[in-house]
């Protein structure tokens, strides 16, 4: 009987040599006359173990990792047995994975991303079939009842957004997927698109049926060529099999989908800038109102959601609103895909119900820093998120709990820094990043960020520190309250949190224990 050996084809695995591992496994098997089929699955999200090779056994899939090409002959010599130093046992039983609550990521790493048959065999397209049996308002009501909130930072309820578009007048409406995941420390969208692209295609199709849109766009960053290729492949296959097109599954409803490639502008992750970019213009933010739900792409009513929101819709339509709503705490319902990254021993994708503490993520899952040194600061929610000192690590992951700390949960990205981090330098970087990436439309962001770099430079060189820190706070206040969008409006989060919690890095006396 053919033994199946799984080698991930997610770009995180490819970036550490998975293609070579897969090729060598096939070559070694042929040389030894073994009946082996190499399957290219997605990633399990246990990224410190990539390349994570899995071998199918009667008990389940057993793992080996991280496997380098040089390890392959030895693994064959050892018969892929559990005694090998790289052996991990049954992958499903690795505590990091076994303790997760995977809803959006249920199929990730298990299936072949390119295979529609595999997707269907693992509950794929059940959500769409259920949706097609419902009236549009019922689909929207289901999404509303699930408690699903957007992952873009504002955490706006998805169902309410859809309802606005459903009720908006006009027959020409659009679904736009914001796949411009440019935040450092986030890669959940990338994993969805590369490892389970059909779930995004299905989620967008359901959204289209729900609000009466017949066309969707997925705006993917140019830094993700692999994700673009996977999505385009999935769309072509879905169209070929009648899951997209003029008559979706014989329902008489039409939905078409297209991938649009970004061009390296961070600001296009801001929804109105993204719409401008799809329209063929510079990605400059629009003033709101009007809301995109009423006047979005090409001036028409538009649902614009993140990858994770749209990719979560199929499971909600498959298993029901109550099933999803049962996870989570307070007003943060369902699960949050946490992305643990930076200086961490066991970085990866962790999908859990809201409510787990940051400390549990850092130590219970992450195993502490990669360098073995003490963790100093943790930035949550991307480059515009706050730096949290140890005194705040018992905060549960929950939108409201983070807001109370003057921090954001955003997209669930967590970047860990050890005790060597210079927080004044990181604060300077935040301002510099804003200066490079500002769209330039509003003055607080465009000018404020450049002045911010200069002021922090003066603080770091010890020139008039008291006055300059006063000036920096004043500048941050202007950016916070005067910017048109989150780019300028949130850059003060990393800057001020660094200053407030790590004043010693700015040459100030350490008063953080009182200030926090």
């Amino acid at each position: 009987m053919t033994t199946r050996i799984y080698v991930p084809c997610d770009s995180a695995a490819l970036a550490v040599g998975a293609d070579e591992v897969a090729a060598l496994i096939a070559a070694e098997a042929a040389r030894r006359g073994l009946d082996i089929a190499v399957v290219r699955n997605g990633t399990r999200g246990l990224l410190w173990l990539e390349t994570l090779v899995e071998v199918e056994t009667p008990q389940g899939r057993t793992g080996f990792g991280p496997v380098d090409a040089a390890d392959v002959p030895g693994l064959f010599d050892a018969g892929w047995a559990s005694g090998h130093p790289l052996a991990l046992g049954l992958v499903e039983e690795i505590p990091y994975l076994a303790r997760q609550q995977r809803l959006t990521f249920a199929r990730i790493g298990i299936t072949e991303p390119r295979s529609l048959a595999d997707y269907l065999a693992h509950d794929g397209y059940r959500g769409l079939r259920n949706a097609l049996a419902l009236a549009p308002a019922e689909i929207v009501a289901t999404v509303t009842a699930s408690g699903l909130r957007g992952r873009g930072g504002a955490a706006f309820p998805t169902g309410i957004k859809w309802n606005t578009v459903l009720k908006a007048p006009g027959t020409e409406k659009y679904i736009v997927c914001n796949a411009d995941e440019g935040d450092s420390g986030t890669f959940a969208d990338r994993i969805i698109m590369e490892s389970d692209p059909f779930v995004l295609v299905e989620g967008m199709t359901i959204a289209g049926i729900a609000v009466g849109a017949t066309r969707g766009y997925i705006y993917v960053r140019s830094e993700y060529p692999h994700a673009i290729a996977r999505l385009e492949g999935a769309i072509a296959v879905a169209r070929h099999h009648g899951y997209l097109g003029a008559d979706v599954l014989g329902s008489g409803r039409a939905f078409e989908l297209e991938v649009r490639k970004g061009a390296g502008a961070y600001i296009c992750g801001e929804e109105t800038a993204l719409l401008e970019s799809v329209e063929g213009k510079r990605g400059i933010v629009r003033a709101k109102p009007p809301l995109p739900a009423l006047a979005g792409l090409f001036g028409k009513p538009t649902v614009i959601n993140n990858v994770l929101s749209l990719a979560t819709v199929p499971v909600i339509l498959d298993k029901g609103a109550a099933y999803y709503q049962d996870y989570g705490m307070g007003r943060s319902r369902g699960t949050l895909p946490v992305q643990l990254a930076g200086n961490i021993k066991q970085g990866g994708l962790i999908e859990l119900a809201f409510g787990v503490t940051l400390r549990e993520i850092l130590y219970g899952y992450g195993g502490g820093s990669a360098s073995g040194r003490p963790i100093k600061a943790v930035q949550v929610g991307g480059p515009l998120g706050a730096y949290l000192p140890e005194s705040q690590w018992d905060t549960p992951l929950d939108y409201e709990a983070f807001a109370a700390l003057w921090a954001v949960l955003g997209h669930g990205g967590i970047v860990v820094h050890d005790d060597r981090a210079d927080m004044a330098k990181l604060a300077r970087y935040a301002m510099e990043f804003c200066a490079i990436e500002s769209c330039g439309k509003c003055t607080p962001c465009r000018i404020g960020s450049t002045r911010g770099v200069e002021v922090i430079d003066k603080i770091r060189t010890g020139a008039q520190p008291v006055q300059q820190i006063h000036l920096l706070r004043d500048l941050c206040d202007t950016m916070l309250n005067g910017s048109l969008c989150a780019m300028g409006g949130m850059t003060p989060y990393p800057v001020l949190s660094a200053l407030n919690h790590f004043p010693q890095d700015f040459g100030q006396p350490d008063t953080s224990r009182h200030a926090a």
Binding site: S11, A12, L14, A15, V16, G17, L47, W48, E50, D68, A69, A70, E181, G182, D183, S184, G185, T186, F187, R190, S222, E223, Y224, P225, R260, K261, G262, A263, G264, A265, Y266, S277, V278, E279, G280, K281, R282, G283, I284, Q339, L340, A341, G342, N343, G347, G348, Q379, P383, G413, V415, V416, H417, D418, A421, L426, Y429, F433, I436, E437, C439
Partner: protein, 174 residues
Amino acid sequence: MPAVANPAVDTPSVQATQAAVDDILAELFARLGDRQDQLLPMLHGLQDSAGYIPPDRVPAIAAHFNLSRAEVHGVITFYHYFRTEPPPRCVVQVCRAEACQSMGSDSLLEHAERTLGCGLHGRSADGAFGLEPVYCLGQCASAPALTINEAVFARVSPARFDALMAAAMPREAV
């Protein structure tokens, strides 16, 4: 981790002749039509095929989409990804974002600058190698990361950088 042959690294960047650029443009214009929302796909198509967006073609592009030259120029220059001169044979992009910084991308960048003999946004003396920043490749849990002619590599130590470059560089340039 040993160096591995990577097809993307071994292929020199495409640089088309003048006549070829006109052919590429004609094909793109015919395929994409003239709605303004096709401008970015068109610019991507041109850069993918010609290696860059020749500034002397901006008037033709503007005329095709019924836009002003300033509008097209504005779009090209707004986006970091688009380039208006031929790229070096080998482009190295080092991730500058926080997760990579936390794992030593600053010292990796310094190492790359020394090895290639140029700073960020610069080119090596022979013009063959270019060094550019990039802000997040989605490899944050396997930092630091970089690309060599768009092929992504993660967990890149200075030693691994040397091995990757040795595979990418022609022998005489090492």
